[in-house]
């Protein structure tokens, strides 16, 4: 008997009324580098999260020790905790029916079979490109991670689903130095296929950016229009909206979007989707972490709030259908509703056109601290580390060290002037470049 099956069976034997085992095996290759490759790690990990219900009492316990003895003990411990837990009055049952969507582009056969030397070679070439770009530039830090994971979910309702996924991320930073002035340029990408990872291009762009920012300075405080680069806006979108559109936040009174279904929460040209079937998307997969099929859900359509994102628990509580958004950040954590791939639908304006039609403003290329924005109040803040002043339709001076702030919900309603055509992702968040009418800048 496989261990997941054993865990479920033992949980029932110890007195559970329902049980679900979630087993994950992951192999990760992890390379750290600076101006040369520093280290290469091969990490093989596995673990099982066991969720049990004793009527309306719940517990989850996990272990990375996958032996029969430990699995039995884990089942016993989980049931023991559940028995003494207070009842959850809203608990009905685990997801009873598993299924699969026709999602594509979440597993790379080539990565599974790749020779390590190919990865090292491609990365070494990229590092050299960065060094050769300009003698003021030095690669200072970076990492490349590739993972192959295998997830099995099995429940006491006799259901079982299994999926294999690949994920690749790379991140690298160049530093430029001249006459005591220092600057950096950083690039990152998150993809599902080895062939989609263009390390050379990233290296050159990071180097180019570092050189351009040698003379960057803060500007005066004030209010200006800003153009926010796609990956930066994607990150902000995820930080602010992931929680408030989550049915759990709505049910618990934590979401500013509670009681707003069917209402205008954004300008008419704003469409935001959650799409677990997006081809090659960062969180694309055929079923969620409770075995429910993934789907495409309209969150905001023509500015109107259409749907919240559900897992089976929150759906049963609202008498709604799960939207296939159950997500376990790690195998040992309980599933919660979370976006799969959250996307702001692109428009048709190019970045070039956006810059050309701006008399005075800022193009924001990179920020830090945007994750400090507050999804509950909508307070948006980020520190620009790499921005350009736009004067009469052209990028002029590089800018650093100014803080932007505004309210994201107000921006959604009437703050977005233009929506770009260049959709890109920061992990599971997707957005095109956007131009905001005006935002507060705290500077000198």
């Amino acid at each position: 008997m496989e261990l997941a099956e054993l865990a479920v069976k033992k949980a029932l034997d110890f007195g559970a009324t329902e049980a679900e085992a979630y087993v994950q095996k992951v192999k990760r290759l992890w390379i750290e580098f600076a101006d040369k490759i520093d280290s290469f790690k091969i990490i093989e990990s596995m673990g099982m999260g066991l969720r049990v219900a004793v009527n309306k009492k719940l517990a989850i316990h996990s272990t990375s020790i996958l032996s029969e003895k430990e699995v039995e003990e884990a089942a016993e411990k989980t049931v023991k905790i559940a028995k003494v837990a207070p009842e959850d009055p809203y608990w009905r049952h685990l997801n009873k029916e598993f299924g699969k969507s026709p999602a594509q582009g979440y597993f790379d056969d080539k990565l599974e079979a790749i020779e390590y030397s190919e990865i090292i070679e491609k990365l070494s070439v990229a590092i050299d490109k960065m060094k050769e770009y300009d003698n003021r530039v030095k690669p200072t830090r970076g990492m490349l991670m590739a993972s192959i994971s295998n997830t099995t979910i099995l429940s006491s309702y006799g259901e079982r689903n299994e999926r294999k996924e690949t994920h690749l991320t790379a991140w690298m930073r160049a530093k430029a130095e001249e006459h005591g002035e220092k600057s950096t340029g950083t690039e990152h990408c998150e993809v599902r296929f080895w062939n989609e990872m263009n390390l050379e291009e990233m290296a050159v762009r990071a180097a180019e950016k570092a050189v351009k920012f040698l003379k960057a300075k803060p500007i005066e405080s004030g209010k200006l229009p800003v153009i926010v680069r796609n990956q930066v806006f994607a990150s902000i979108l995820g930080v602010i909206l992931s929680g408030p559109i989550n049915a759990d936040w709505v049910q618990k009174g934590r979401s500013p979007l509670s009681n707003k279904l069917g209402m205008q929460v954004a300008a008419q040209n704003i469409n935001i989707f959650d799409d677990g079937t997006l081809r090659g998307g960062w969180r694309t997969r055929p079923f969620d972490d409770e075995g429910h099929p993934t789907q495409k859900t309209t969150v905001i359509g023509n500015g109107i709030l259409k749907n919240y994102l559900y897992d089976s628990y929150t759906a049963l509580k609202d008498n709604a259908e799960s939207t296939g958004n159950a997500f376990r950040s790690q195998y040992w954590m309980p599933p919660q509703p979370q976006p799969t791939n959250l996307a702001l639908e692109p428009g048709n304006v190019s970045l070039k056109e956006m810059i050309q039609e701006t008399k005075r403003g800022i193009f924001i290329d990179e920020t830090i601290g945007e994750w400090l924005s507050n999804p509950v109040s909508g307070n948006l803040s980020a520190t620009i580390t790499h921005g350009y002043l736009i004067e009469n339709g052209e990028l002029t001076k590089p800018i650093k060290g100014v803080v932007i702030s505004g309210n994201f919900y107000e921006i959604l309603k009437d703050g977005i002037e233009l929506i770009g055509n260049d959709l890109r992702n920061y992990m599971q968040n997707y957005a095109p470049t956007v131009k905001l009418k005006e935002i507060t800048i705290a500077g000198k």
């Binding site: 290469f40 830090i368 509950v376 705290a442």
Partner: protein, 464 residues
């Protein structure tokens, strides 16, 4: 312990295979998290993680492999993987200093083992705290978490070191969300300690959550501050965060050796005002217990800045080699799946001699920046830019605290901001957290930070 024998066999085998240096690290990590939302138990999760990682140095290159499967055949395969990884990058040169050989076992002190406390008792403590949060009809949501961890690590190296450490930690976190006139605000806060369940028993669970709710209610009624650059007084939480983000990361030897950090080449120079002395220390009251690092090196007290002069960077064995100094015991790994890199331990500012009233009395207009309810921070060490979100704060006018402001974000440049510190308080507090940690290169580790109240003459404050 049985595993120690297996680890020693792996070390011997690696040496036999021609590996010049090998570190074997075992870890067993137990963790429990109880979450109560709106007076109901949301989840009780517990976790046991154990495994082993092997680091090999071979012809100057480093390979690493880890596994959760602890039977000996799997450990041998893991060693092969580590060697294979090292060989795949064989052209590189990598050197490390030697560590002083230590053979020791150390445990953080506690009275009541929190893992052994009955689950229902822990659940009821979290429920009690949560129920006390509903002080006002403006409170719309309240989340309480009780966290417990026990981190046991064994380090055995071919140099002859054998170090075992155990750190037991516990804490409670709470977040209240308040809504008033269509505006929502949330205030999170937590208290943790390297201790046992006696820490929870000593807490006043009623006032813990009620105070956080009161702050949320106060904040939701308040405005955001005017954007600009001001004089500020920061509290102990914020100075800790500020030093950790704004200076600590830039002082990490690996970031300095690649010249990524703005502190490169600054040893012996003035990097902060003369009032500033900064220390990194492995064991301090209120902080995270970290007596030895993950390279088997004792974490000594490191004076990073003394009276404004940069004295030392933080080092692991690799960065120490590059600077021709000894490791300061800052080679830390999140867990057995990760290689140690240079990390802070408990990073704090040494107290001065000002009273709080003296710090604010000559500020005409500024902000008293408070950490409670804040959200953390980030730094870009190359450009020297830092930023972080703090809690509801107070406007200072003519030497007095006036109205509350919310949504405060502060930002500055590492080498400029600390030079504008002109007064340092006497009230040192160091804190740690079981709920969060510090992230770098994909690894999160627990840290401690703090300091006294400090006056900073120029800080950029983002508002609306």
């Amino acid at each position: 312990m049985e595993i120690e024998g297996e680890m020693e066999k792996i070390v011997k085998k690696a040496v036999d295979l021609g590996v010049s240096q090998v570190d074997v690290r075992y870890q067993q990590y137990d963790y429990e998290l109880i979450t109560v939302e709106n007076k109901t138990l949301k989840s009780y999760s517990s976790r046991r993680l154990s495994g082993l990682g092997i680091k090999v140095a071979l012809n100057g290159s480093v390979g690493y492999a880890s596994t959760c499967d602890l039977n000996y055949a799997s450990l041998e395969k893991t060693l092969e993987n580590a060697i294979k990884a090292a060989k795949s990058i064989k052209k590189e040169e990598k050197h490390m200093v030697e560590a002083k050989v230590s053979q020791i076992e150390m445990k953080s002190p506690y009275k009541i083992d929190p893992i052994d406390v009955a689950p229902e008792e822990k659940v009821s403590a979290a429920l009690d705290a949560n129920k006390a949060a509903w002080i006002d009809e403006k409170i719309k949501s309240a989340i309480t978490r009780l966290g417990i961890s026990k981190d046991y690590r064994i380090f055995i190296s071919s140099e002859g070191s054998k170090v075992a450490t155990e750190t037991t930690m516990i804490g409670m976190a709470h977040e209240s969300v308040a809504k008033s006139n269509g505006i929502m605000e949330r205030v999170p806060y937590q208290e943790s300690k390297c201790a046992g369940y006696e820490f929870i028993e000593s807490m006043d669970l009623n006032s813990f959550a009620a105070d956080i709710s009161a702050l949320a209610v106060d904040a939701v009624k308040s405005k955001t501050p005017p954007a600009g650059t001001y004089a500020v007084v920061v509290d102990q939480n914020v100075i800790g965060l500020l030093l950790h983000e704004a200076f600590g990361h830039a002082s990490e030897g690996d970031l300095v050796s690649t010249r990524e950090s703005v502190l490169y080449g600054k040893i012996g120079s003035q990097v902060a005002s003369e009032h500033v002395t900064i220390i990194d220390e492995g064991i301090i009251e209120g902080g995270y217990f970290y007596p030895f690092d993950d390279e088997g090196v004792k974490k000594e007290k490191t004076v990073v800045v003394e009276n404004g002069i940069l004295k030392s960077y933080l080092h692991d064995k690799t960065s120490a080699y590059q600077f021709n100094v000894a490791s300061t015991g800052n080679g830390r790994a999140q867990d057995f799946e990760n290689l140690p890199i240079v990390r802070q331990t408990n990073y704090y500012m040494k107290p001065g001699d000002y009273k709080f009233e003296e710090l604010i009395e000559d500020v005409d207009f500024g902000i008293y920046i408070r950490g409670k309810g804040g959200g953390g921070g980030q730094v870009e060490v190359g450009m020297g830019t830092f930023t972080f979100g703090v809690g509801p704060s107070k406007i200072m006018k003519n030497g007095e605290l006036t109205e509350t402001v919310r949504g405060v974000v502060i930002s500055g440049f590492i080498l400029e901001t600390l030079k504008t510190i002109d007064a340092v308080g006497k009230d040192l507090t160091v804190r740690t957290s079981i709920f969060g940690g510090c992230g770098k290169m994909g690894q999160t580790v627990r840290v401690g930070f703090g300091g006294p109240h400090v006056r900073v003459r120029k800080m950029t404050v983002g508002g609306r």
